[in-house]
């Protein structure tokens, strides 16, 4: 399907796949938007200690519930302060670290589980496939929020517990999609060639199958990262996720809920941050999917 390096049709076709990817990506508006916003949030998270105007845990009780600048506050606290007098901007910046960390680690754990199951099921078929399909069905039948809440309540709400629970629960989409992708790739000649050449099984799975389903893998990884971030915020909001005084965005919304009547910006600000992060990750993922799919690399 795609123009390969051995068939130069025009000047453009000589671009390497990577060059072609960037060429297409630069012209994909959603991808550019997602990438820019995401890069900004990542930079903010990394450099939070340098940017943040105050200590996110420092309580100044005389400065409680200062409004943000655009609602008549001062530049001393650009986004105001919360009910304990902590600087809201600083908490927001440090909160980005928690969201990104949870998204990345949870998506990685579930990617490892789901990809392994998916590739094995797709490559071997038969009984292995039946077992994996069974596991997927069991996982889908379990209500994620409920099980996550229960586990956090019973084991305690540390960052490690929350990340592990989400990582162990969100692998279903990886398994479903990579199973069918592997099935398609498996029938292509070079896999048969590798088998005939006597390549070892791990080598075939790792060198021949995995690179050819990698774009699916990346797209689902972004989706599940966004999913994990939203779920962490929801769990923390319900009081059974990350525990105070950590500046999780979900927890900030939960704490702001008490002031809903008078200070609605306390929930608006972290909510908008959460929305932007999830939107950026989704658009970034959708962009990668749009840009890589028409290449016909699988």
């Amino acid at each position: 399907m795609s123009a390969t390096a051995s068939a130069p049709l025009s000047g453009k076709a000589r671009l390497t796949p990577r060059q072609r990817f960037w060429h297409r990506a630069r012209h994909h508006r959603g991808f550019v938007f997602g990438a820019v916003v995401l890069a900004t949030i990542v930079a903010v998270a990394i450099f939070a200690p340098l940017i943040a105007p105050h200590d996110p845990y420092l309580q100044v009780l005389s400065d409680r519930m200062q409004p943000p600048v655009f609602l008549g506050g001062t530049w001393h606290h650009p986004l105001g302060t919360d009910a304990l007098g902590r600087d809201y901007l600083s908490r927001l910046l440090y909160g980005a670290r928690i969201s990104l960390l949870i998204g990345l680690v949870a998506a990685t754990i579930s990617a490892v589980i789901g990809t392994t199951l998916g590739i094995l099921a797709g490559y071997f078929g038969g009984r292995v496939d039946t077992v994996v399909t069974f596991l997927i069905n069991v996982r889908l039948a379990l209500p994620v929020v409920l099980v996550a809440l229960a586990v956090v309540a019973l084991l305690g709400g540390s960052l490690t517990v929350v990340v592990s629970v989400l990582g162990l629960l969100l692998w279903d989409r990886f398994a479903v999609v990579l199973r069918s992708a592997t099935r398609q790739v498996r029938t292509i000649e070079y896999v048969a060639a590798a088998e005939v050449l006597g390549a070892s099984l791990p080598r075939i799975l790792y060198k021949d199958i995995l690179p050819n389903i990698a774009n699916h893998l990346i797209v689902i990884a972004t989706l599940e990262m966004a999913h994990a971030i939203i779920l962490e915020a929801a769990l923390s909001f319900l009081g059974l996720g990350v525990q105070p005084p950590l500046p999780s965005w979900g927890l900030m919304i939960s704490e702001g809920k008490a002031m809903l009547l008078f200070q609605s910006w306390l929930i608006t600000i972290p909510g908008v941050a959460l929305f932007l992060l999830v939107l950026a990750i989704n658009m970034f993922g959708d962009g990668i999917r749009d840009v890589t799919t028409p290449e016909g690399r699988d």
């Binding site: 959603g30 069974f134 069905n137 069991v138 889908l140 039948a141 379990l142 209500p143 994620v144 929020v145 409920l146 099980v147 809440l149 229960a150 586990v151 309540a153 019973l154 084991l155 966004a226 939203i230 915020a233 929801a234 909001f237 319900l238 009081g239 059974l240 979900g250 919304i253 809920k257 809903l260 009547l261 609605s264 929930i267 608006t268 909510g271 959460l274 929305f275 999830v278 939107l279 989704n282 658009m283 959708d286």
Partner: protein, 295 residues
């Protein structure tokens, strides 16, 4: 397969009890002495082997007996029954809401691809999926309950109390249904029999709704059934935001209060509902699509 899945899920729901280590210690509380813990252990039968406890629990559960709630001190089944009605109602409303919004949008998007409607629908679905439901709920409370004073912020006493939770729970299922309607319609609209209908000179609405939509909607119906299963899980968050006293809110309450029997029962019931809805989706699909029945 479904039976095996259900059995495995029941084992998982039962094992949740042991996740914290010793359930007797968890129940007794922090300041209990050894004698009190031992009394609870014997009273609730935690000293028996795991398999015996599980078998006992499962057979009682099959008869609708989930034991006694630690918190309410009444049978769990009694506590759940009322609450489940509210959640079922909410699920039904939300699914209807999602279908009513998503199908017309999907059809319009397919009729005029790349038009403003199509782009707006796509934009809405991308944005919609990024809004956390609990936050969306709070924002709606601020707008409709506090600023405009149109709808109640919480409670399930009146019909009005269901409006905001329905919107919040329903919008989450909307993008998926809309996209599926759009792809289905695009496919069907380019099919031969639609071209024939056009050539015969049938009026356009007739073609779209009688010929095209009826076929395009088949996968949507099964998606809606599966989404309803997911909504039961989503109800935990939404009902807590609106303090709607359904099964989802009960789940949150029982988890926060360490009411393990109620929690176990709810995990099991929610899973069973999901399994039932997926089976229902298959049945409805076969009924709607004669091609599936033949093969």
């Amino acid at each position: 397969m479904a039976v095996l899945v259900a059995l495995t899920v029941s084992i998982i729901s039962f094992s949740l009890l042991y996740l914290s280590g010793d359930p007797a210690v968890a129940m007794a509380g922090e300041n209990a002495d050894d004698a009190a813990i031992q009394a609870i252990r014997e009273g609730y039968g935690f000293d028996r082997p795991f398999i015996v406890q599980y078998g006992d629990w499962l057979f009682s559960a099959l008869r609708g007996d989930f034991g006694e709630s630690y918190y309410f001190r009444v049978p769990v089944s009694e506590v759940i029954a009322d609450r489940l009605q509210i959640t079922m109602l909410l699920g039904l409303f939300s699914t209807s809401f999602a279908l009513v919004v998503a199908i017309p949008l999907g059809v319009a998007a397919a009729l005029w691809p790349n038009s403003i409607i199509d782009r707006a629908a796509l934009f809405l679905s991308v944005v919609g999926q990024a809004i956390p439901s609990f936050w969306f709920g709070l924002i709606l409370i601020v707008i409709f309950a506090i600023d405009l004073r149109l709808l109640p912020a919480s409670g399930s006493g009146t019909w009005a109390g269901f409006v905001l939770p329905t919107v919040v729970l329903g919008y989450y299922a909307t993008p998926a249904i809309m996209r599926l309607t759009r792809t289905g319609m695009l496919e069907v609209l380019s099919a031969d029999y639609v071209r024939t209908a056009r050539a015969k000179g049938l009026p356009a609405p007739n073609i779209v709704f009688k010929h095209a939509l009826r076929n395009a909607i088949i996968p949507v119906v099964s998606l809606a059934a599966v989404q309803m299963g997911f909504m039961l899980g989503g109800s935990v968050v939404v009902e807590s935001v609106f303090a709607l006293h359904g099964a989802g809110y009960l789940a949150w309450e029982s988890i926060s209060r360490n009411d393990l029997p109620t929690m176990q029962a709810l995990v099991l019931i929610f899973s069973m509902f999901y399994i039932a809805f997926t089976i229902l989706a298959d049945v409805v699909n076969a009924w709607l699509d004669p091609r599936l029945r033949v093969s």
